[in-house]
Protein backbone atom coordinates (compact mmCIF):
# COMPACT_ATOMS: atom_id res chain seq x y z
CA UNK A 1 0.00 0.00 0.00
CA UNK A 2 2.83 2.30 0.95
CA UNK A 3 4.63 1.48 -2.31
CA UNK A 4 1.44 2.03 -4.22
CA UNK A 5 0.97 5.40 -2.62
CA UNK A 6 4.57 6.43 -3.27
CA UNK A 7 4.17 5.52 -6.96
CA UNK A 8 1.09 7.59 -7.25
CA UNK A 9 2.86 10.49 -5.63
CA UNK A 10 5.68 10.29 -8.14
CA UNK A 11 3.28 10.35 -11.06
CA UNK A 12 1.49 13.19 -9.39
CA UNK A 13 4.76 14.97 -8.92
CA UNK A 14 5.58 14.47 -12.56
CA UNK A 15 2.21 15.84 -13.55
CA UNK A 16 2.67 18.83 -11.32
CA UNK A 17 6.20 19.44 -12.54
CA UNK A 18 5.16 19.22 -16.17
CA UNK A 19 2.16 21.49 -15.67
CA UNK A 20 4.39 23.83 -13.69
CA UNK A 21 6.95 23.96 -16.46
CA UNK A 22 4.25 24.60 -19.03
CA UNK A 23 2.90 27.48 -16.96
CA UNK A 24 6.40 28.84 -16.36
CA UNK A 25 7.19 28.64 -20.05
CA UNK A 26 3.99 30.47 -20.86
CA UNK A 27 4.72 33.17 -18.33
CA UNK A 28 8.26 33.49 -19.68
CA UNK A 29 6.91 34.06 -23.16
CA UNK A 30 4.36 36.46 -21.72
CA UNK A 31 6.99 38.45 -19.83
CA UNK A 32 9.08 38.71 -22.95
CA UNK A 33 6.03 39.84 -24.90
CA UNK A 34 5.16 42.41 -22.27
CA UNK A 35 8.69 43.76 -22.26
CA UNK A 36 8.65 44.01 -26.03
CA UNK A 37 5.20 45.58 -26.13
CA UNK A 38 6.28 48.16 -23.56
CA UNK A 39 9.40 48.98 -25.52
CA UNK A 40 7.52 49.18 -28.79
CA UNK A 41 4.82 51.45 -27.44
CA UNK A 42 7.43 53.68 -25.84
CA UNK A 43 9.21 53.96 -29.19
CA UNK A 44 5.90 54.57 -30.97
CA UNK A 45 5.00 57.36 -28.57
CA UNK A 46 8.42 58.96 -28.94
CA UNK A 47 8.23 58.67 -32.72
CA UNK A 48 4.72 60.10 -32.73
CA UNK A 49 5.80 63.12 -30.69
CA UNK A 50 8.86 63.68 -32.87
CA UNK A 51 6.83 63.42 -36.07
CA UNK A 52 4.21 65.83 -34.73
CA UNK A 53 6.89 68.35 -33.79
CA UNK A 54 8.66 67.85 -37.09
CA UNK A 55 5.56 68.31 -39.22
CA UNK A 56 4.67 71.54 -37.43
CA UNK A 57 8.17 72.97 -37.83
CA UNK A 58 8.57 71.68 -41.37
CA UNK A 59 5.32 73.21 -42.56
CA UNK A 60 6.07 76.50 -40.84
CA UNK A 61 9.48 76.68 -42.52
CA UNK A 62 8.10 75.74 -45.92
CA UNK A 63 5.30 78.30 -45.71
CA UNK A 64 7.65 81.10 -44.74
CA UNK A 65 10.33 80.29 -47.32
CA UNK A 66 10.66 81.94 -50.70
CA UNK A 67 12.02 78.87 -52.40
CA UNK A 68 12.96 75.30 -51.68
CA UNK A 69 15.75 73.15 -52.98
CA UNK A 70 16.45 69.44 -52.81
CA UNK A 71 19.84 68.69 -51.29
CA UNK A 72 21.63 65.96 -53.20
CA UNK A 73 24.32 63.53 -52.23
CA UNK A 74 27.25 62.67 -54.47
CA UNK A 75 25.28 59.81 -56.04
CA UNK A 76 22.41 62.19 -56.92
CA UNK A 77 20.20 60.75 -54.18
CA UNK A 78 18.07 63.24 -52.30
CA UNK A 79 19.56 63.75 -48.87
CA UNK A 80 17.58 66.64 -47.53
CA UNK A 81 15.69 69.83 -48.17
CA UNK A 82 16.68 73.45 -47.97
CA UNK A 83 14.39 76.43 -47.57
CA UNK A 84 15.58 79.87 -48.49
CA UNK A 85 14.04 83.23 -47.79
CA UNK A 86 15.34 86.76 -48.21
CA UNK A 87 15.06 88.02 -44.64
CA UNK A 88 15.53 84.88 -42.67
CA UNK A 89 18.15 82.22 -42.06
CA UNK A 90 18.47 79.38 -44.52
CA UNK A 91 16.86 76.24 -43.14
CA UNK A 92 18.26 72.82 -43.91
CA UNK A 93 16.65 69.50 -43.14
CA UNK A 94 18.96 66.50 -43.31
CA UNK A 95 19.13 62.98 -42.05
CA UNK A 96 21.79 62.29 -39.46
CA UNK A 97 21.79 58.69 -38.38
CA UNK A 98 18.28 57.95 -37.21
CA UNK A 99 17.29 61.55 -36.72
CA UNK A 100 16.28 64.47 -38.84
CA UNK A 101 18.35 67.53 -38.06
CA UNK A 102 17.11 71.03 -38.76
CA UNK A 103 19.85 73.58 -39.15
CA UNK A 104 19.25 77.30 -39.43
CA UNK A 105 22.15 79.14 -41.01
CA UNK A 106 22.81 82.83 -41.36
CA UNK A 107 25.39 82.83 -44.11
CA UNK A 108 27.81 80.12 -43.02
CA UNK A 109 27.13 80.54 -39.34
CA UNK A 110 24.81 78.03 -37.67
CA UNK A 111 22.22 79.96 -35.69
CA UNK A 112 20.03 77.15 -34.54
CA UNK A 113 20.12 73.38 -34.46
CA UNK A 114 17.23 71.08 -33.74
CA UNK A 115 17.02 67.31 -33.89
CA UNK A 116 14.02 65.03 -34.28
CA UNK A 117 14.97 61.54 -33.15
CA UNK A 118 13.15 58.56 -34.58
CA UNK A 119 13.43 54.83 -33.83
CA UNK A 120 16.26 52.80 -35.30
CA UNK A 121 15.50 51.41 -38.75
CA UNK A 122 13.46 54.44 -39.80
CA UNK A 123 13.81 55.31 -43.46
CA UNK A 124 13.48 58.79 -44.85
CA UNK A 125 12.93 60.04 -48.35
CA UNK A 126 12.72 63.60 -49.55
CA UNK A 127 10.74 64.94 -52.45
CA UNK A 128 10.09 68.32 -53.96
CA UNK A 129 7.37 68.64 -56.58
CA UNK A 130 8.24 71.81 -58.39
CA UNK A 131 5.17 73.66 -59.59
CA UNK A 132 2.90 76.56 -58.85
CA UNK A 133 3.28 76.31 -55.91
CA UNK A 134 5.92 73.72 -55.08
CA UNK A 135 5.19 71.00 -52.56
CA UNK A 136 7.99 69.74 -50.34
CA UNK A 137 7.54 66.40 -48.62
CA UNK A 138 9.29 64.08 -46.21
CA UNK A 139 8.31 60.44 -46.13
CA UNK A 140 9.05 58.68 -42.87
CA UNK A 141 8.74 54.90 -42.72
CA UNK A 142 9.42 53.13 -39.47
CA UNK A 143 9.33 49.40 -38.85
CA UNK A 144 6.43 48.34 -36.65
CA UNK A 145 7.19 44.78 -35.64
CA UNK A 146 10.36 42.82 -35.94
CA UNK A 147 10.37 39.59 -37.90
CA UNK A 148 6.86 39.70 -39.29
CA UNK A 149 5.86 41.07 -42.65
CA UNK A 150 2.31 41.44 -41.42
CA UNK A 151 2.56 45.19 -41.33
CA UNK A 152 6.03 45.79 -42.59
CA UNK A 153 6.42 49.53 -42.28
CA UNK A 154 4.39 52.37 -40.89
CA UNK A 155 4.91 55.19 -43.30
CA UNK A 156 3.83 58.77 -43.03
CA UNK A 157 4.25 61.60 -45.46
CA UNK A 158 4.51 65.17 -44.35
CA UNK A 159 3.62 67.55 -47.14
CA UNK A 160 4.10 71.27 -47.07
CA UNK A 161 3.38 73.97 -49.58
CA UNK A 162 6.38 76.17 -50.20
CA UNK A 163 6.02 79.94 -49.82
CA UNK A 164 2.32 79.95 -49.04
CA UNK A 165 2.69 83.09 -46.94
CA UNK A 166 4.25 85.05 -49.77
CA UNK A 167 1.68 83.81 -52.25
CA UNK A 168 -1.31 84.83 -50.24
CA UNK A 169 0.29 88.16 -49.49
CA UNK A 170 0.92 88.72 -53.16
CA UNK A 171 4.64 89.31 -52.86
CA UNK A 172 6.79 88.71 -55.92
Amino acid sequence: MTGNRRGTTQIEMLVIISVCSVVMGASGVLLHGMYRAGKESRLAIEAGAAVARLSLQFRRDAHAAAEAELLKEANDKAAGLMFRGSFQPTIEYRQQGRAIVRTAKQGDKVVHLDSFGLPAGTEFSWTLDVGQPSVAAIRIARPTRRGTNLDAMFSQRIEAVVSIVRQTRGEP
Binding site: M13, A37, S41, V51, V135, T144, R157, E159, T168
Partner: protein, 157 residues
Protein backbone atom coordinates in the same frame (compact mmCIF):
# COMPACT_ATOMS: atom_id res chain seq x y z
CA UNK B 1 7.52 22.89 -1.69
CA UNK B 2 5.37 20.32 -3.42
CA UNK B 3 7.96 17.74 -2.41
CA UNK B 4 7.50 18.26 1.32
CA UNK B 5 3.72 18.27 1.07
CA UNK B 6 3.78 15.13 -1.05
CA UNK B 7 5.99 13.05 1.20
CA UNK B 8 5.84 14.79 4.54
CA UNK B 9 2.15 14.75 5.21
CA UNK B 10 1.40 11.05 5.02
CA UNK B 11 4.28 10.18 7.40
CA UNK B 12 2.54 10.84 10.79
CA UNK B 13 -0.54 9.00 9.64
CA UNK B 14 1.33 5.73 9.40
CA UNK B 15 1.21 5.31 13.18
CA UNK B 16 -2.47 6.03 13.81
CA UNK B 17 -5.25 3.60 12.84
CA UNK B 18 -7.98 5.75 11.32
CA UNK B 19 -5.39 7.94 9.67
CA UNK B 20 -4.44 6.17 6.38
CA UNK B 21 -7.62 7.00 4.51
CA UNK B 22 -7.52 10.57 5.77
CA UNK B 23 -3.84 10.86 5.00
CA UNK B 24 -4.37 9.62 1.50
CA UNK B 25 -7.20 12.04 1.01
CA UNK B 26 -4.99 14.70 2.44
CA UNK B 27 -2.11 13.89 0.06
CA UNK B 28 -4.48 13.76 -2.91
CA UNK B 29 -5.95 17.01 -1.79
CA UNK B 30 -2.53 18.66 -1.85
CA UNK B 31 -2.01 17.55 -5.43
CA UNK B 32 -5.45 18.85 -6.32
CA UNK B 33 -4.62 22.10 -4.64
CA UNK B 34 -1.45 22.32 -6.63
CA UNK B 35 -3.26 21.61 -9.86
CA UNK B 36 -5.97 24.11 -9.04
CA UNK B 37 -3.32 26.73 -8.32
CA UNK B 38 -1.55 25.97 -11.56
CA UNK B 39 -4.78 26.09 -13.53
CA UNK B 40 -5.57 29.44 -11.94
CA UNK B 41 -2.09 30.64 -12.81
CA UNK B 42 -2.58 29.42 -16.36
CA UNK B 43 -5.87 31.28 -16.57
CA UNK B 44 -4.15 34.43 -15.33
CA UNK B 45 -1.40 34.01 -17.92
CA UNK B 46 -4.00 33.53 -20.66
CA UNK B 47 -5.79 36.66 -19.49
CA UNK B 48 -2.56 38.62 -19.55
CA UNK B 49 -1.80 37.37 -23.05
CA UNK B 50 -5.18 38.63 -24.14
CA UNK B 51 -4.41 41.98 -22.57
CA UNK B 52 -1.15 42.07 -24.47
CA UNK B 53 -2.94 41.41 -27.73
CA UNK B 54 -5.38 44.21 -26.92
CA UNK B 55 -2.46 46.57 -26.30
CA UNK B 56 -1.07 45.68 -29.73
CA UNK B 57 -4.41 46.36 -31.38
CA UNK B 58 -4.72 49.67 -29.54
CA UNK B 59 -1.30 50.71 -30.74
CA UNK B 60 -2.30 49.95 -34.30
CA UNK B 61 -5.46 52.04 -33.83
CA UNK B 62 -3.31 54.90 -32.51
CA UNK B 63 -1.06 54.56 -35.58
CA UNK B 64 -4.13 54.75 -37.81
CA UNK B 65 -5.25 57.90 -36.03
CA UNK B 66 -1.85 59.51 -36.44
CA UNK B 67 -1.85 58.60 -40.11
CA UNK B 68 -5.36 59.97 -40.63
CA UNK B 69 -4.42 63.19 -38.88
CA UNK B 70 -1.33 63.59 -41.03
CA UNK B 71 -3.40 62.81 -44.11
CA UNK B 72 -6.00 65.48 -43.35
CA UNK B 73 -3.19 67.98 -42.71
CA UNK B 74 -1.62 67.14 -46.07
CA UNK B 75 -4.95 67.58 -47.84
CA UNK B 76 -5.44 70.90 -46.09
CA UNK B 77 -2.00 71.98 -47.32
CA UNK B 78 -3.06 71.17 -50.87
CA UNK B 79 -6.28 73.13 -50.48
CA UNK B 80 -4.38 76.13 -49.16
CA UNK B 81 -2.11 75.97 -52.21
CA UNK B 82 -4.91 76.52 -54.73
CA UNK B 83 -5.89 80.14 -55.47
CA UNK B 84 -8.76 81.40 -53.37
CA UNK B 85 -11.12 81.83 -56.33
CA UNK B 86 -10.58 78.21 -57.42
CA UNK B 87 -11.31 76.84 -53.98
CA UNK B 88 -14.56 75.03 -54.65
CA UNK B 89 -16.16 71.75 -53.73
CA UNK B 90 -15.43 70.44 -57.23
CA UNK B 91 -11.76 71.19 -56.84
CA UNK B 92 -11.75 69.54 -53.42
CA UNK B 93 -13.45 66.45 -54.84
CA UNK B 94 -10.41 65.88 -57.06
CA UNK B 95 -8.23 65.27 -54.02
CA UNK B 96 -7.34 61.68 -53.31
CA UNK B 97 -5.90 59.91 -50.31
CA UNK B 98 -2.29 58.83 -50.45
CA UNK B 99 -1.22 55.27 -51.16
CA UNK B 100 -0.15 54.52 -47.59
CA UNK B 101 -3.42 55.83 -46.20
CA UNK B 102 -5.42 53.63 -48.56
CA UNK B 103 -3.33 50.66 -47.47
CA UNK B 104 -3.54 51.33 -43.76
CA UNK B 105 -7.08 52.56 -43.36
CA UNK B 106 -9.69 49.99 -44.34
CA UNK B 107 -12.47 51.37 -46.56
CA UNK B 108 -11.64 55.03 -46.01
CA UNK B 109 -14.36 57.63 -46.48
CA UNK B 110 -13.11 61.10 -47.26
CA UNK B 111 -15.45 64.02 -47.05
CA UNK B 112 -14.47 67.58 -47.86
CA UNK B 113 -16.92 70.41 -47.55
CA UNK B 114 -16.26 74.00 -48.50
CA UNK B 115 -18.79 76.63 -47.65
CA UNK B 116 -18.64 80.41 -47.63
CA UNK B 117 -18.67 82.23 -44.34
CA UNK B 118 -20.35 85.61 -44.03
CA UNK B 119 -18.19 88.31 -42.53
CA UNK B 120 -16.23 91.48 -43.05
CA UNK B 121 -13.79 89.82 -45.44
CA UNK B 122 -14.94 86.93 -47.56
CA UNK B 123 -13.90 83.58 -46.15
CA UNK B 124 -14.45 79.91 -46.79
CA UNK B 125 -14.73 77.21 -44.24
CA UNK B 126 -12.89 74.06 -45.24
CA UNK B 127 -13.75 70.91 -43.38
CA UNK B 128 -11.96 67.67 -44.11
CA UNK B 129 -13.25 64.60 -42.39
CA UNK B 130 -11.83 61.13 -42.74
CA UNK B 131 -13.30 57.95 -41.32
CA UNK B 132 -12.48 54.32 -41.80
CA UNK B 133 -13.68 50.87 -40.82
CA UNK B 134 -12.69 50.11 -37.25
CA UNK B 135 -12.38 46.76 -35.54
CA UNK B 136 -16.06 46.48 -34.79
CA UNK B 137 -16.74 46.67 -38.54
CA UNK B 138 -18.30 50.09 -38.49
CA UNK B 139 -17.11 53.47 -39.62
CA UNK B 140 -16.06 55.04 -36.36
CA UNK B 141 -15.80 58.65 -35.31
CA UNK B 142 -14.04 60.65 -38.02
CA UNK B 143 -10.79 62.51 -37.77
CA UNK B 144 -11.80 66.00 -38.80
CA UNK B 145 -9.85 69.13 -39.52
CA UNK B 146 -11.49 72.49 -40.07
CA UNK B 147 -9.83 75.64 -41.32
CA UNK B 148 -11.00 79.03 -42.46
CA UNK B 149 -9.38 80.65 -45.41
CA UNK B 150 -9.80 84.35 -46.00
CA UNK B 151 -9.66 86.05 -49.31
CA UNK B 152 -6.17 87.00 -50.50
CA UNK B 153 -5.03 90.27 -49.06
CA UNK B 154 -3.83 91.71 -52.35
CA UNK B 155 -7.44 92.51 -53.16
CA UNK B 156 -8.09 94.18 -49.85
CA UNK B 157 -5.73 96.09 -47.62
Amino acid sequence: MTDSSGFGRPAPSRGGRPAPSRARRCAAFTVTECLVALVLLGAAVALMAQLLATAGVQRRVADQHALALQETSNLMERLFAVPYSELTAERAAELRLSESARQRLPEPQLEITIKPVAGETAAKEIRISLRWLDRSGRHGAPVALTAWRHEDRRNGS
